[in-house]
């Protein structure tokens, strides 16, 4: 597995898939994100790293419409160059525009089978309404068939081909992680947001996951935005890294650059700041 060529400098607008400009998110008096600006490059894997409490998941929640930032803009750049503003949209609408996501703690629909879980995602592209469903119109049948096909295809893509009729809750932890990724892919995203996909997985599963992320990027052409603590994984898949600390971007660049950045080392080892952000994750590196 070879990492794609890493652009050394911040990518320009032309090859961006998501642009975040001066986003500030506050909860009461607590500022979770402070004037965050970043650009996720199209067709690449970008990692967002940072100590616990740095605002990584808050950033994801802003990108997917779960939180609405008080200031700044977030836009999705389509392949044709046109942009769509994401902040202010409802989460389902963000997803339908082309931003898929997974969750830090797996959130599957446990009473549904694996294939049904993925079909919920595929349904986001369908158009059949309740009336055509009740009347059993041919269009609905075609869509249903297409959703099943797509779901089975994605299940085999993530390596769950034999497990499509298993209930989501009956899958192993690693399988659930991959099912969640398949469900997000089924919504047809331009960019896939993975929130700590390797959390709680063993080294072998981590390797599989790294391969899967690379394949999503290379074979499906989906841009990936990754929150991850495991530096080995980040270094092996990401071509670009953004570091958050205390809600601010403190560094951005190629992985090798980031590793040498004094601000990053300071944030992780906590030489001057001894608050909650400083402990916790140094061990993961």
């Amino acid at each position: 597995m070879t990492a794609p060529a890493a652009p050394a400098e911040r990518p320009g607008l032309d090859d961006a898939v998501i642009r975040v400009d001066d986003v500030t998110l506050r909860f009461g008096g607590v500022t979770s994100l402070s004037e965050v600006s970043l650009v996720a490059p199209r067709g690449e894997v970008m990692a967002v790293i940072g100590p616990n409490g740095a605002g990584k998941t808050s950033l994801f929640n802003c990108l997917t419409g779960v939180y609405v930032p008080q200031e700044g803009t977030i836009s999705l750049v389509r392949p044709d160059g046109s942009t769509a503003r994401l902040n202010g949209r409802k989460p389902y609408s963000v997803t339908r525009l082309g931003v898929g996501r997974t969750f830090q703690n797996i959130r599957l629909f446990n009473a549904l089978t694996a294939v049904e879980n993925v079909k919920v995602g595929a349904d986001a592209r369908g158009k059949a309404g309740p009336v055509s469903v009740m009347l059993g119109l041919p269009r609905m049948r075609r869509e249903e068939h297409a959703a099943t096909e797509k779901a089975l295809e994605l299940l085999s893509f993530v390596g769950l081909s034999g497990r499509h009729d298993a209930l989501a809750s009956a899958l192993s932890y690693g399988e659930q992680r991959r099912l969640e990724i398949a469900r997000a892919l089924a919504t047809g995203p331009q960019v896939l947001l993975l929130d700590e996909p390797a959390a709680g997985t063993n080294p072998a599963e981590k390797n599989d996951l790294a391969r899967l992320i690379t394949r999503i990027n290379a074979e499906l052409g989906t841009s990936v935005l990754l929150i991850e603590h495991d530096m080995k994984l980040v270094m092996s898949v990401a071509s670009y890294v953004v570091v958050l600390n205390f809600g601010r971007v403190i560094a951005a660049g190629a992985p090798e650059q980031i590793q040498r950045d004094p601000a990053v080392i300071e944030a992780y080892l906590g030489t001057t700041q001894d608050d909650e952000g400083a402990h916790g994750d140094a061990a993961d590196d």
């Binding site: 929640n61 989460p91 389902y92 079909k119 995602g121 349904d123 469903v133 059993g136």
Partner: protein
Amino acid sequence: MVLLLALISGPGGSSTALSYGFRHSILRPRVIPFVVVGVVAWALVELGRTQRQTVRSAVMGRLEGVRRRTGGVIPRNRLTRSALPIAALVVAVAIPPFLNGYWQTVLVQEMGIFTLLALGLNVVVGFAGLLDLGYIAFFAVGSYTTAYFTGRLPVLPPFTLNPFWILPIAILAALIAGVVLGAPTLRLRGDYLAIVTLGFGEIVFSFARNKTDVTNGDSGAFNIPHFSIHTAGIHYTWGGKQLPYYWVLLVFVVLIMFLFRRLENSRVGRAWTAIREDEVAAAATGVPTVRYKLLAFAIGASTSGFAGVLYAANVGFITDTNFVLQQSILVLVLVIFGGMGSMWGVLVGAAFLEWLPEKLRGSVPPSDRFIYFGLLIILVMIFRPQGMIPSRRRALEIRQAEAGIGEADALGLPKEVQ
């Protein structure tokens, strides 16, 4: 001491009959059923607390064995899957004509109407996981729409119609009421939604009771005509007989079950399950959650409105007391008892629970009937919280909720976005 004696002897007692009050107010009337039922209930609750897991796993183990051999309690192969409903339909067609008038009335006014209501509420509670405590309000909308368009309310309509032709109007009215209530409130979740729907039910009830110049208050509307058709050469009047109403009910219950089954097994049903299980994840997977919740609400409300027309036309008399909170809760009980999300469960549960008090009418004192009713429900909730015939998805959710996995408990309480 005197006070104690006075308490024991009661107003009817005297110095020569000290225990009169005790004997006549507590001992005499129904002490035996009360005590027996109480002791049995207590014993079973205690047993349930300690033995629940053992009993259930033993029972479930045996059921599991049967299931493995037969391929499911209701086996899932093609033949039995269509054979059971057909058998049920044959019974539903063959038996009623031979019942006497009393049981035909029970069949239509209690079992039939409430089955319809329960099937509608099942979409809201069972499929979409929304707790609606004001469901009977839509039944009221259907009934009062009927009363209005037949000219039986103080406010007169521009034209009068036969209740049969009011069906679509009432369904539409209930649907609109559902959307009007749902649109602003379905952003709420769990308990909050339940309280808002409770309030809505009370508003409709208070309106029916107090706005006498519109609804006639507690005198209600009476002489609502029966269904009749005089169109295109067909002349038919349902009249005072129950059987013709039963056929209408049967046709619509079958039709509704067929349509709802399609919804359940489609993208709509998947979306409802997703919302019920994890609303945040559903939205992140592209499910427009508010729209789908509103859809469930509208479908439930229109079914309820439909039942309201049938009830008004069949009984011919409606009053505010038909639409009290207890009725909403009763319908909810029917759904939970039968098995949330399972249409066969709801059908069987509603029919059985509506039949039971009537059956008990002859054998126990009237005021005791609901003790047995309550006992039965308590027992079912202890030993079979997923209901009599649970839906596969729902049974699993309840088992997971008990084991502390997942967030879809019986009523889908929210989990914080982390």
